[in-house]
Symmetry: C2
Subunit: 108 residues, 2 copies
């Protein structure tokens, strides 16, 4: 029933249903405003191209804000918008679940 195109979960997934996007959000939630290189270092295994692509999509969806400083060397900062901040409860739940599940893993 909620599986139409107006399904809330489907809508959410269309915006952040991608591994890298969640990890980008995690970084911004935890570190606040960050530069491109900072985010890149903080996410293990992502390529520059993929990071650029995902950042641009998140920006286009109004989840984060991209601020370019016209300097040399170039400096670009990314920060969460209000819409991005509103995703925090989801990230929190994922964090809580991960903690619980890692505890169980340790028991094994």
């Amino acid at each position: 029933m909620p599986c139409d195109k107006s399904c809330p979960i489907e809508h959410t997934v269309n915006l952040i249903g991608h591994k890298w996007k969640v990890l980008i959000l995690r970084n911004l939630f935890h570190q606040g405003t960050q530069r491109f290189g900072e985010i890149h270092k903080g996410i293990h295994g992502i390529s520059q191209k993929m990071l650029t692509q995902q950042l641009r999509q998140l920006e286009a969806d109004g989840i984060l804000c991209r601020k370019v400083y016209p300097e040399v060397p170039p400096k670009v900062e990314y920060s969460l918008t209000a819409l991005g901040e509103s995703l925090k409860p989801i990230l929190d739940e994922m964090n809580k679940w991960g903690i619980e599940h890692l505890k169980q893993r340790d028991v094994d």
Copy 2:
């Protein structure tokens, strides 16, 4: 800091950080135990192969249970395990966020 390999969010993302997996979980949470064809119909745009692949991964990770009935015509049912059920709060938050955000969209 939490960005090591033991980061809870990264762990969670590795298990369900995929668009189709979240939608599969949504279906099972909403409809309970379902057959392959039911899930396929319920998720718009997914191919049979992708559905099979994602279901197998979720099964391998212990999130859902696959039960084959040796009948003609064949029948395969998928249901959530206890581990899968424990993901519900995450789905709930995604649902809540989607509802809120769709409301804002309507205003536009």
